[in-house]
Symmetry: C2
Subunit: 292 residues, 2 copies
């Protein structure tokens, strides 16, 4: 990796220690970067065990109807790794929103950094975030499914968070693998040949899938440990101060009060059935991808 | 709240159950929204205890050098609440990036939805995310500090995640209050008159501050419980499947292996000293805000 780029990846966390940057300008000057370069080379030389490792190429699918938090957990962890390229991939470079346009939510458009056509091959990580109804749209989208199938057969790790696993499954990438998804869509996994596994993060050979939405941080750190080392992942965990203390214990149907589960289940309506139907349909549509 | 808007806020999670929207179009049609409206009114009538509550107005500061994950945790929780307006506030409406432009990170620009001048007064929630060096820039920025001081004296809850508390403190809003921040900048709190408190989320009267970065989800759910009800927050926790299972136990200096703490501390350099200096400087610059 270009040495200067490598140093620049260290600037964000180091910038603070310089107290530079006048108000409204948080971009270090070339001189300041030079000043920090020597310091960081010293630090790096003291911590080779953390910093060595081949350059990683990470491809993260972004799409209309994706749930932004599904992307942000893993992205935050991957960005904290050194010597990696992260690509946000979609059909074109037009910004996609993380929420259906029907919602009144604050919309944070995500601009893809590359396209299916230009995305590097043999990714170290292929990642698909979840989000409904976006997920169900993708399961019927031949262009998306073909891209994932092709990349998935050559990627070092094939991964997802939340309902992203249903899209991987539609591309035949979870056939015979243990996997998980959001609790409300677990019924969608079996029709795709996957073995539904009720764990926060499920690892089966090179498939790594996370549960609903907020599993992204647990997933990201797990993958960082596999890609680099446990110590490397621990450094990221400490940097992000990931010491979760949920104020309530309702994060799963198992622990949530009955009344709360009843309300949220009603809000999800028949999402589970829809997931099952979409999965069955996808397996028929892309039958050739399920041959092994 | 406008009934139609209210219904639309329910669409995102309900959309899936309809399995509508052809590929690449995750926006429900007016007819589909109408079809869902009746269904949701039925659900709502069954769950008044979850859905009632006055409309909330939430103002979240966004700024150059902010750390996006600090915003996303709380934003994800707040977006899951019904009957609320969320404003992303900055000096102008130009997009701000969450990382210094010196970094090679994937940049996700955040576009403010309103300005200091147009931001509603008497906010239910005033929120400031962290991020260095952006935080230290803001602590010296009279325009920002004046805005926060004015809003902070009228807001129902004055809140932050990570180093955002140092900016609140610079505006005299934590003088005499228990508060927390990222572990690497705890030294910055005392000079601002705050009482450094080593907890994931610290509540002191109407001040609610979270620890580093990933505390945003714990913070958001805590605040949702205060704004609505514990059951309401539990429903959001279940929706987001927030049942964290960190694969490592290095989320705090207390639990991290010595070698990991050594590396991350070196990466932060003298950030703690810089925070202390910036805090001392801010208290002098804005002395009048500290009078009580």
């Amino acid at each position: 990796m270009d040495r200067r780029l490598f140093i620049k990846t260290l600037i964000a966390s180091a910038a603070a220690s310089q107290g530079f940057a006048k108000a409204n300008d948080s971009s270090p000057t070339a001189a300041q970067i030079d000043a920090m370069e020597q310091k960081h080379l010293e630090i790096m030389s003291r911590y080779q065990s953390f910093l060595e490792g081949e350059k990683l190429t990470i491809g993260m699918l972004v799409y209309p109807g994706m749930f932004l938090m599904d992307l942000m957990g893993p992205l935050t962890v991957f960005e904290a790794m050194l010597n990696r390229d992260i690509h946000l991939v979609w059909k074109d470079l037009k910004p996609v929103n993380e929420k259906p346009t029907g919602s009144t939510s604050v919309s944070i458009p995500i601009t893809p950094t590359t396209t299916f056509k230009d995305c590097p091959k043999k990714l170290d990580v292929l990642f698909v975030p979840g989000g409904v109804p976006g997920t169900f749209n993708l399961m019927r989208d031949t262009e998306v499914i073909s891209f994932l199938h092709e990349q998935g057969t050559s990627a070092r790790f094939v991964t997802s968070v939340c309902t992203g696993s249903l899209v991987l499954g539609a591309a035949g990438l979870l056939n015979g693998y243990k996997a998980t998804t959001h609790w409300a869509t677990m019924e969608g996994l079996a029709p795709l040949g996957a073995k539904p596994t009720n764990q926060r993060v499920v690892i089966d050979r090179n498939r790594v899938t996370g549960g609903g939405v907020t599993s992204g941080l647990d997933f990201g750190l797990t993958l960082a440990g596999l890609l680099r080392s446990p110590a490397y992942a621990e450094a990221i965990q400490l940097y992000l101060e990931y010491d979760p203390k949920p104020p309530f214990n309702a994060g799963t149907p198992r622990t949530a009060p009955k009344s709360v589960l009843g309300f949220v289940s009603d809000m999800f309506g028949n999402t589970g059935d829809v997931a099952k139907t979409a999965a069955t349909e996808a397996r028929l549509n892309y039958a050739s991808y399920f041959k092994r």
